[in-house]
Structure formats: C-alpha cells, structure tokens
C-alpha cells in the first residue's frame, strides 16, 4: 500500500504515516439492547466502495480526522476534521 492521504494539517502524505481507525459510525447512546450493542462492537461494515472513515496521523501531527475513500481503489476524495454536529464515531 503506497497511496497518499491529504492530512488536513500536514498536506499530502504516504499512507504509512497514518493509522487506520475504521469507518465512522455512531456509537449507540442511551438505552440499547444487547443485540444492538453487540452489532456495534462486532459487526463492522466491510464497505465495498466509498466510505467515511477515521485516520490518525501518527507519524506527524497526531491528529484524528475523517476521510472519504473508495475502498476498492484507495482513492481519497476528501479529508476534514470532525465537526461537532456529526454523528459521534469511535
């Protein structure tokens, strides 16, 4: 893997400077059944196509941010910091 990701702070960098944090998902809040909780914990989506996901720039600015990427081609369409009005991800 040698595709590049534009870090919102550092600019375009190779993927090995980053850590993948999984797709952005809403963490169940309030009353949830055990089934819903288990779904959240263990049934991760394995999207074939575009998804919004967390990345961590571990070798540089140490920021977590969101990226929209095509999992088939590794094309990264956009990256941005998390905005408070969005669903809270893990």
């Amino acid at each position: 893997m040698s595709f590049q990701i534009p870090c919102p702070n550092c600019g375009v960098r190779p993927v090995w400077e980053f850590h993948y944090g999984g797709p952005s998902r809403k963490r169940p809040e309030g009353d949830v059944t055990s089934r819903e909780w288990a779904e959240f914990l263990y049934n991760r989506p394995n999207t074939c196509g575009e998804q919004t996901e967390w990345w961590y720039h571990r070798s540089a600015c140490k920021s977590w941010f969101l990226a929209r990427r095509d999992t088939r081609t590794n094309q990264v369409f956009e990256t941005r910091p998390f905005a408070p009005q969005e669903a809270v991800g893990g």
Partner: protein
Amino acid sequence: MADSPVAASQEACEFEFDGKAITAQAGQTLAGALHEAGQHVVSRSFKYHRPRGLFCCTGRCPNCLCTVNGTPNVRICTVPAEPGMVVRSQNAWPSVNFDFLSIFDRLHRFMPVGFYYKMMYKPRWMWPIWEKFIRRIAGLGSVDRRQGADGTYDKLNLFCDVAVVGGGWAGMHAALDAAQAGFAVTLIDDQPLLGGHLRFDPDLADSRLADVVRQVQEHPGIQVWDSATVFGLYEGNYLGIQRANRMIRLRAAEVVVATGGWERPLVFENNDLPGVLLASAAQRLLHLDRCRFEGTAVVVTDNSQGYRVAGQLARAGTTVGAIVDVRENSPDKIEEIPVRRGQTIFAARGTKHVTAAVIAPVSGDAHATLSCRWLIQAVGFTPASSLLHQNGCKFKYDPLADHAIVTAHGRGTHSAGAVNGIHDRDGTALDGRRAGLAAVEALRPHDAALAARRDELKAKMGAIPLRESAAAHYASGSPAKKKFVCLCEDVTEKDICDAVAEGYSNIETLKRFSTVSMGPCQGKMCQSSSIALCARANGKSIEETGVTTSRPPEQPLSLGVLAGRGLHFSLVRRTPMHDWHVSAGAKMMDAGNWKRPETYSTPEDEYDSVRSRVGLIDVSTLGKIELRGSDVVPFLEFLYPNRFQNLNVGRVRYGVICDDAGILLDDGTIARLEEKRFFLTTTTGNADAIDSWFRSWLAGRPQLDVQLTNVSGSYAAMNLAGPNSRQVLAKLTDADVSSAALPYLAAGQLKIANVDAVVLRVGFVGELGYEIHVPSQYGLHVWEAIVEAGKEFGLAPFGIAAQRLLRLEKKHLIPGVDTDALSNPLEADLPWIVKLDKPDFVGRRSLAQAGERGLRNRLVGFRIVGETVPQPPALVIHNGKLGGRVTSCEFSPAAGCAVGLAWVPAEQSKNGDKIEIHVDGRVVTAIVQDEPFYDPQGHRLKS
C-alpha cells in the same frame, strides 16, 4: 559515490574469466569481450546443464549470469569491463566448456516436468540423501559469505511531477514535452546512455538522436537517472528504482511508462544453442561493443528489422547466408543476400555452437539445411508492460499485433511507444509527446495552450500503425524434445504440453507446476510463447488463456538494496540517565525501542536492597500525558471505569483503561496536580497507543475543554522505593515529606535537589516509595543527587528484572503480560475499579454484561510448595483439559516458594483452591491465594 554505476573503462583492459585472461576493448562490456575472445559458452543451463551463450544482450535473459568479483548472478552483458575483474561462470563443474552435470541433458526422461513434486519423497529414509544432493546442484550462483556486505547500500527519497520510465525515443519525447510545459520531470533509463534501441540501429538513427539526447540532458526541468532500473511501480505512482547500490524511491504525480519491448524468441529445436541470438543482441554486440560475427549468419524474420540486421552484419564482414522471411509477400528487399520467403526456422544443429540451421516452409515439412555459425532471429517485440500491469492497467489481447494492448490506464499513469505496440520511429516520437502532454494536462487541466498542442499532435498522428505484421511463430510438427520455451528453468515445449495434459491447464497453475516464467527473467523471454503454447494445448484462444500476474520486482535486485544502511534499521530510544546506567555497568535490555537496565548487579541483590534498604529505578520510559481544561474530569470519567469526581487536588489514583468491549488496554496513574490540571502515566509499551486513544475520543468531542499535551519526553522519571526512601528524599528537599504531609497516594509538587518535581507516592513494588518526575534536562542531575544522598542508607539502583519480582509479590499485573486481548478488569481481579453506577463510559455496557453473565475465568495469584518455578505460559489443567495458563511466575524470597499469576476457570479461583500446572511433562499443584504474597495489609506501602 555509492550510487555511481560502473564507468566504462576508457582504454583496453584485461579481466579474468574462469581463470583465463580476456582482453576487453575500451568501453566494452564483459559479454562483448568474451564474444570477441571466442568464449561463446558463458553459462550452463539450470536443469540440464546445456551450454548457453549470449542471447538477448539487454540484461533480460538468464544466459549470461555470472559471478563477478564475488557477486553472484550478475548479467555480464550489462557490465562494462574493468581492469582486474574476476568473472566466474555458474552452474558448471568443472567448467562451462566441459560440465560433468551435462549428463542430465541425456537423463531428461527421468526428469519430466514437475519431477520434483513426483520424485524423491519416497522412500522417506532416502530424503536426507536427496536433500544433500539437491542442495548441491540446485539454485544459481552462491553467495560469498566471507566477502560480507560492502557497506555502501543506501536509499534516496525523491519527488517529481512527471516520471518517465525509459529513455528511448518515446520516453525522451514525453520528457521534453512535459518539461517544456514547466513541470519537474525525472527520466529513468536502465542504460548508461539515452536513446533506447536507436543507439544500436544505425539505419534508424540519424542526427536527430544526438539532438534530442542533448535537449533532454540540457533541459533544466529534466533530471536524468541513467543506469537505473525501475523495479516497481506501486500504488500512488510510487516508483522503486535501483541504481547500483542505491535504492531511489520516487513519488511522481504522473508517470509515463515508455519501457519499449522485449524481443521475442522463437521456439524450435535446439533454440538454446550458443550462436542463436536475438537480433537486438547482435546489433548491440556489433554497434555498442564493436564485435564481429565471423563466419556465416542466417537471419529469421517477419519484419524489416531482420533486413536491417542482415545488412548491418554484412557490412561488418559477416557472410549472411540467407534471410528466412516467414512472410510469403513482404515489401522488404535487400541486395546480395538470398531471401527465402514463406519459410521459418525448424531446428538448429550443433553441440556447443550452431553449425547449421534447418529451415522449412511455414506449412509443410520439406526441410533444407543451411550451414551457418550464427542464427539471428528478428521476429518482433512483446510490450515490456510489467510496470503497467503492476499499476493496475487493463489489457486486451490484439490478435493482429499478437500481443496485449493497454485499454485502461491506472490513475495518473500513461504509456508511450513500443509498450503500446508502436514501433514506427516517427510514430513513437508522436506517441511519446502525446503521453507527455497527457501527463501534464492531468496536472494542469483546462489549460487552453496545452489543449491546443494536444489537438495539433492528434492531427499529426493520424493512425499510427501497430506492429508491422504478426506471422505464425512456430515451425510445424517438430516432435523434438529440446525446444526451449523457458531458458531460465529449462522448460520445453513438450513439458508445457505434458503439464497441460496432466491437468495444469490454467495458465496460473501451469506456471507454478512447470515453473515456466518463474526464473530470473520473470517471463520476459517466455511469457508470450508459454501463453501461446498453453492456448494451443488447450485448444483455446490466447485471449481466453489470459496472462500471469506481473509483480515487483520487475528486474532482480539484491537484498542489500532493499535493506539499505544497517544503522538505520531500528530506532533506539534512550532515557536521560542512559549514559549513567551504562557507566554503572548495567546490563541493558531492549524494551520495544527502548534500552533499559535489566540489572546492575544481580536481581536478587537489588531485590534485597529495595525490601530492606532503598532502591532507585529509572522509569522515564513511562508514557506521560498532561490534561488541562475545565472538562478534564468528565472526560476522564468517560474514558476510565474508575471514578474521578472525588479525586482531590494533590492526590493520585490507579486506573485502568478499557475499550468499548470492556477489554483492558492499559493501566497507569492519574494525578490531580491542580484543579484543572491532571498528570497521567501509561505503561512504557502503550505510551503511543494510549496517547492516540485519548486523542481519538477527543477528536469526536471537539466541544470539550480538554487540552492534551504528551509530555512523555519532557519528564525523566525515577522510582525511589524501600523503607529508607523517605530519609533519602528528606535530604534533598526542604519540603515536608512526612507521612502526614505526603501520605500514600499523595501527588506533590516539590523541589528535589533544587529541581521542580512532581512526586507521586505510589508503590508498584510494595514498599514506601516515590515516583519522581523532573524535567528531562535535570534527569541525570536529580538521579545522581539521589544516588549520592542514598549512599548512607544503602541505596542501590535496580533494574527491570528485580522490579518484575517485586511487583509480582504484590500481585500487581502488567497489562499485555498478565492480560491479553480477551481480559476485562472484572476477570483480571480488579473489580473494585469498575464503577457501574457511573453514567456511560467506554466499556460500561460490555462490563455490565460481563458482570451479569458471571465470570468465566479469573486472573489469580498462586503459590507452589516445592522447588518448581513454572515458566509462562505453562498450562493450567482443569479436569484433565486445558483450563488456563501461567502469565508470570518467579521464586519469591518473601513467600519462600514460587509465586505467580495465572488465568484459571472461575470455579477454581477461590482462595485455597488447588490448581494443576503442567510443567515439563508432569503436573504440579499450586494453591490459589487472594492476598498479595508480601505485606498483604500494605503496612509497608502506607508507612
């Protein structure tokens, strides 16, 4: 410099080949010099030990692999001769000219295709004998272990806008057009000089070649890397390049692949005899190495290149006996050389060199034998498309051109010239310019000037013809066994047909079973013919047959190039007191990237001084995080299962961190230094992971007023522990360090040895103790001050080994050692930490569920009466089955027996329960113990 490729010798020189002195003319390659000296057998083949001579002369085929100055598998056709070089042939004993193992050539019926899968494994007792024999004869070349690394391997990281791979006619034009638009271009070519095949085809080259080469070299926007091989084109236009001993990693915004073609050999009987050459090999030897071909040559061709080569040979003094043109009606003509149209090569005759060519009509079996010494084949090129394949380009087989054509390029990738099947000289230039422009347009879209130039080019290009013609490449019906498809692995046409008949009919399984295309040339010589044969044997079309996958490296490269400089392999991290430890004679150990003292004297003595006097350990490697802001408490309440509402200023608390599945990730201390300022420690190994974990939760909660600063490197830390530690500390500070002023679990900010310090009264080792954090620049100063002050109290530094035992006696777990990816704090014997009455926190739901479900396993302390000390991961046996495992175990001086921690089934985890531990084939009984093994009430800790 390390990466300067070998410079051609400016004058004639002498080198050694298998002990024989050979003279090379100025600038000649080793191969050229051997040819001139009449040494036409340069190696022996892999399996049958058949004599092999120069064949492709472009650094592709396996025939000229030799050991040069101790380096095995060097292609001598690419290495300029230097005075005193020592060249040895490979795969031959005693010599290439007479090789005993050529007996294999007559034993081929005992070595059918895939014989190594079928033979030698029965009877079993024979295998060690076979193995010795196989190891002796298998493989190519041998590494000279005495020589060692020459220490000059190196790496370089570069960037450019447009990378052009291949400095031939197409590549140079692409580079020029891209550079003229103002972009930074890097042109990489594997030859010492630019120009591609025009360098050795004087009938095609005119004054424009020198002109274009000069333009490229003088253009300030073009960086040329000659003698450099692109071995990989990776995702994101990342190029791996080898240049002598240096690896260049080049990141390009756009890539133009102009790698040209690989000349294709024909498959006929004895097609591997020395004297059978590809046309470009003959041209390179003629024009670059200025060699002669004495005697008679026969040229087999289906295109105009054959006629040019024949003419060039004739002009150099060779008698060209005939041009055998596969085409019935060809437009090409040549004077004074007989042309036999509609015929093709059927077989070569000779033992160690060609003596005659047998030719036959393309359809039919009337043979004619032409006496000759050289058999030159000029039947076109296969696109050198490995890099395009690697980059995910899509291809489609074109029956007219008889090779695959790119139909869709990978992102940011372009191709030009012969790799697109374009061989016409002017067409190649236009195609190169088109690709260069396309690359530039991708970088600067909607540019009217670029668009205009592109349209202008398009108009000029019209329809560029692809390969001139593609004739049938096989002489019909020869049943001979020695028709080699793959020169690297000695795979014959019959082998391929047999393998298909045995069921290996898919091109990928055929490749693995027969090993065709798996040798040093990686299919460059054999891919097209093996696919064609596979198709024919299956009765399918070439398109249906498909191609095998090309992967990096495109050309062989030595492991040293991939490794780079040894010094750079692994990061070494040192604490501010590192040099002190080394001078004190500490035995250092690796803890991740860290160097840490394992012990200074013996772990037993160090244990003793901590328990009875006072010890000092360097814990600077701990992760340290400072949190400030008005929302730190709610944030910590959310991240930890612990409670923090009630943590007062000046107090410190032990805590563990869990993930949402309730799994224990790490432990550490949380100190509240000020109302809105907290100081956290993590374990050494998890420092970065916990930093990232905190940041991940903060990233999703930007509204929280929490400022996180990783201060791991800013503080040196040491743990002063033992009954005398208070007296030592008191000597170094004016502050009150009495138990009243600084009780157990106090977090103080005091001056120690005149340095501002954070002092945490925690007791990992179970004694009165102080974890002292000071700014790193004063780490050594404070350490030395403590050591000095501690002298009269019997202070000794202690290392990791003693600490492991000290903490084990207190039953303190180490995350990642005593816990794993299935451990939660309830089962890891830390239920008091989990406050399920808090609102939501990370892991709460899972821990609540785990609590309701009941514990399945528990981490318990155990002691063993007797001498046995089971080493982790000794297994715990429960009802005759695997029930758990020991995670830590040491002999405890305090308990007088072995003590440890183990995971056991919950129903066997009560105080006093007996558990069985499997040790060296027997079972020992251990007793579960709830209390720590040392100072169970914690009197010493809290004193």
